[in-house]
C-alpha cells in the first residue's frame, strides 16, 4: 500500500464526516491564520519603522546633551543644557574632523502657530540651512531657510506639509504670515510631505532659523541664548562612522572640559534602527507565541477527534485487519488522516491569514500606515508546523488503532 493509496483512503473517510472534519480543521485554520496575519503585521510594522528611520537621511549621527546629576538625582537624557550653537559650529571643521560631512544643529520648542482663525500647536524647530540636505528634507513650494536668514535672525518660517494644510486650507501658504507665540513670521516655504514616523510626525512641524528660535522663541529654556537640543551630523560615508564618533567626542570633550563622564551622547541611525527592530522583534515573537498556542489547541482538537474516530471505527479496523491490513497499514491510514486534516487546515489558514492581512493593510496605527508583509518563509513555516502538529497529535490515536486485536475489533459493538 503506497502513500497515494493511503491519502485516497484518508480523504474518503474524512469526506464521510464532512462537518466533523471541517470543525476539527478549524482549530488549525485559526492557529495558522493567526500566525500568518500576526507575523505579517509584525514585519509590516518593522518595515515601516525602517523606512521612516532611513527617510531621516543617510549616515547620520545624532549628538544630544547628556543628563545632569543634581544631588544624586539623575535627570532624563537630553535634559542638560550643555550643548551650544558654538559646539555645532566647532564640529563643522573639515580640517579637524575629516569624517564629518555636514552639521545641522537644531533647537526644539513647542508653540501655538496661528493664521487668522486657524491655529495649531506644534513643534517649532530652529534649524540652519544645512538641515535640509542632512535630514533629507526638501521644499515643495517656496524655499528653505538660508544661511542669510540664520545670520540675520529673520522672522521667516518653513511649514511642514500638515501644518500648511491646516493653517492655509485653501491656498498657498508661501508669502503669507503666521504668528508663533505672538511673533509674526513670514512663510517662505512648505516642506514636501514625508509621511508619518514612529518618532513624531515629520510633516507636523514648523522650521525657523536657529538663531531666531534661540533668541526669540525658546524663552522657557533657562540656559538662555545659545543652547541647542540636538546636532545632526552627516558622516562622509558609512565606514567612517566610528571615526566620526571619535572625532566629535574629542572636540566636545575638549570644549566642555570633560574629566570623568561625557556630558553628551552620540547615537547613530543604526542604533535607532536596532532598538526599533528589537521592539518589533519582541512584538513579532510575542504575537507568534500567542498564535502558536492556538495551533497547539488545534492539535489537541485533532487528537481528540482522531481518538473518537478510532473508537467509532473499531469495526472498520477489524475488517481491514481481517482482509490483510498490517499494523503498519492501519497506523499509516490514521496518521495520514490526522496529517491531511492539519495540513489542509494549514493551507486554508495561510489563505485566511493572507486575507486578513490584506484586509487590515492600509489601516493607520497612529502616524503609521500598516502594510503587512506576507513572506514565503512564514507560509512555509506555518505549513510545516501544521504538518508536525498533525503527525505529533495523530501518532497516539493511530497507534491505538494499529494495536487493536483483529478479533476483538470485529466483535466490538
Amino acid at each position: 500500500m503506497n502513500l497515494i493509496e493511503s491519502v485516497r483512503i484518508a480523504l474518503h473517510s474524512l469526506a464521510a464526516n464532512k462537518l466533523r472534519s471541517s470543525l476539527t480543521m478549524l482549530g488549525i485554520v485559526i492557529g495558522v491564520a493567526a500566525v500568518i496575519a500576526l507575523m505579517g503585521v509584525g514585519r509590516g510594522a518593522s518595515k515601516a519603522i525602517d523606512s521612516q528611520i532611513n527617510s531621516m537621511g543617510t549616515n547620520l549621527l545624532f549628538v544630544s546633551p547628556g543628563s545632569t546629576s543634581e544631588s544624586g538625582v539623575r535627570t532624563a537624557q537630553g535634559s542638560a543644557q550643555t550643548l551650544t550653537y558654538e559646539d555645532a559650529l566647532a564640529l563643522n571643521d573639515p580640517a579637524n574632523l575629516p569624517a564629518v560631512a555636514a552639521v545641522a544643529p537644531q533647537v526644539q520648542a513647542f508653540g501655538q502657530v496661528v493664521n487668522m482663525g486657524n491655529n495649531v500647536n506644534t513643534q517649532i524647530v530652529g534649524v540652519t540651512a544645512d538641515y535640509a540636505p542632512v535630514r533629507n528634507y526638501s521644499v515643495n513650494d517656496g524655499e528653505f531657510i538660508s544661511q542669510a536668514n540664520v545670520q540675520a535672525k529673520s522672522s521667516v518660517a518653513v511649514l511642514g506639509a500638515n501644518v500648511a494644510s491646516t493653517l492655509f486650507p485653501d491656498g498657498s501658504a508661501v508669502g503669507q504670515s503666521v504668528r508663533i507665540n505672538n511673533i509674526t513670521f513670514k512663510v517662505i516655504g512648505v516642506l514636501t510631505a514625508k509621511g508619518g514616523s514612529g518618532f513624531g510626525n515629520q510633516d507636523d512641524q514648523v522650521l525657523v532659523p536657529i538663531t531666531t528660535a534661540m533668541t526669540r522663541l525658546s524663552r522657557s529654556r533657562s540656559g538662555g541664548g545659545n543652547v541647542i537640543s540636538q546636532i545632526s551630523v552627516q558622516v562622509v560615508d558609512a565606514k567612517q562612522m566610528d571615526a566620526a564618533i571619535e572625532q566629535i567626542s574629542a572636540v566636545l570633550r575638549e570644549r566642555h572640559h570633560v574629566r570623568y563622564e561625557d556630558d553628551f551622547t552620540i547615537r547613530s541611525q543604526q542604533d535607532m534602527l536596532e532598538s526599533a527592530t528589537q521592539i518589533t522583534d519582541v512584538l513579532t515573537l510575542f504575537l507568534g507565541g500567542v498564535a502558536g498556542i492556538s495551533l497547539l489547541v488545534g492539535g489537541i482538537g485533532i487528537m481528540n477527534i482522531m481518538l473518537v474516530s478510532v473508537t467509532e471505527r473499531t469495526r472498520e479496523i477489524g475488517i481491514r485487519k481481517a482482509v490483510g491490513a498490517t499494523r503498519r497499514n492501519v497506523l499509516t491510514q490514521f496518521l495520514t488522516e490526522a496529517t491531511i486534516l492539519s495540513v489542509l487546515g494549514g493551507l486554508v489558514g495561510v489563505a485566511a491569514g493572507a486575507g486578513i492581512a490584506f484586509l487590515i493593510s492600509g489601516v493607520s496605527l497612529g502616524t503609521m500606515t500598516l502594510q503587512p508583509v506576507i513572506a514565503l518563509d512564514s507560509i512555509l513555516l506555518a505549513t510545516l508546523f501544521s504538518l508536525i502538529v498533525g503527525l505529533f497529535f495523530g501518532i497516539y490515536p493511530a497507534f491505538r488503532a494499529a494495536s487493536l486485536h483483529p478479533i476483538d475489533a470485529l466483535r466490538y459493538e
Binding site: M1, E5, I9, H12, A16, R315, E316, G318, I319, R320, K321, A322, V323, G324, A325, T326, R327, R328, N329, P406, I407, L410
Partner: protein
C-alpha cells in the same frame, strides 16, 4: 508468526465470511472487494474486483453501497471479497445466519459452487439443514467435540492442500448460545 506474517496469511491464504457481512459502509461494493488487493499491493484491482463480483453474480451492482443491497447480495459481496486473493480456505462464520431461507439457500449454492471449483470451506452454523450440506461435520458442544462424521467421498479436486476435502459444519446444541470462534473449530 509476527504481525506482518499473520496479516499476509489473512490476506493471501484465508477468506473470511461473517454472519454480519462486515462490509465497509459508505464504501462502494467495488471498493469493498478491492480492499484485500490494496493490502496485497496488487495491480489491476478494478478488473479483478469486477471479475470476482461477476463470479458471484453481482456484476451489475458494483457502484452500489452495501446498505443499498439486500442481505443475500451483501453476503455475496463479502464472499467476493473473500475470494479475490484466491485463498486456500474460506472461513465462514454462520454465513446464512442473518439471511432469510431463500437468500440463505442462494449463498449455500454459491459456496457449493466454489467448493466444486476446489476451495476448502470451513463453516460454523447452528442450522442443521445447512450443516448437513457439509462433507465433514464436527459437532461442538460447550467447546468440546462430541461427534465427527465424514459424509461422502473426499473429492479428487487438486487444491493447495491436496485434499480440498469439503465443508466442515459445526453445530451447537440448541440450548447452548455460545458461538464458536473460527479458531476453535479450526483446531
Amino acid at each position: 508468526m509476527d504481525d506482518r506474517q499473520l496479516a499476509a496469511v489473512r490476506n493471501q491464504k484465508i477468506g473470511f465470511v461473517f454472519q454480519t457481512f462486515n462490509l465497509l459502509a459508505r464504501t462502494s461494493v467495488l471498493a469493498n472487494v478491492e480492499l484485500p488487493l490494496i493490502y496485497a499491493g496488487k495491480k489491476e484491482r478494478r478488473e479483478r474486483a469486477v471479475a470476482t463480483l461477476e463470479r458471484v453474480g453481482l456484476g451489475d451492482r458494483i457502484h452500489h453501497r452495501p446498505n443499498e443491497l439486500s442481505g443475500g447480495q451483501q453476503q455475496r459481496v463479502a464472499i467476493a471479497r473473500a475470494l479475490i486473493n484466491d485463498p486456500s480456505i474460506i472461513l465462514a462464520d454462520e454465513p446464512t445466519g442473518n439471511l432469510d431461507s431463500r437468500s440463505g439457500a442462494e449463498i449455500m449454492a454459491l459456496l457449493h459452487e466454489l467448493h466444486a471449483q476446489g476451495l476448502t470451506i470451513v463453516m460454523v452454523t447452528h442450522d442443521p439443514d445447512v450443516g448437513r450440506q457439509g462433507k465433514h461435520i464436527v459437532r461442538i458442544h460447550d467447546g468440546h467435540i462430541i461427534a465427527d462424521e465424514r459424509l461422502g467421498d473426499p473429492p479428487s479436486v487438486p487444491g493447495p492442500t491436496g485434499t480440498g476435502d469439503g465443508g466442515l459444519a459445526a453445530r451447537h446444541d440448541k440450548a447452548v448460545t455460545q458461538v464458536a470462534r473460527p479458531q476453535e473449530v479450526n483446531q
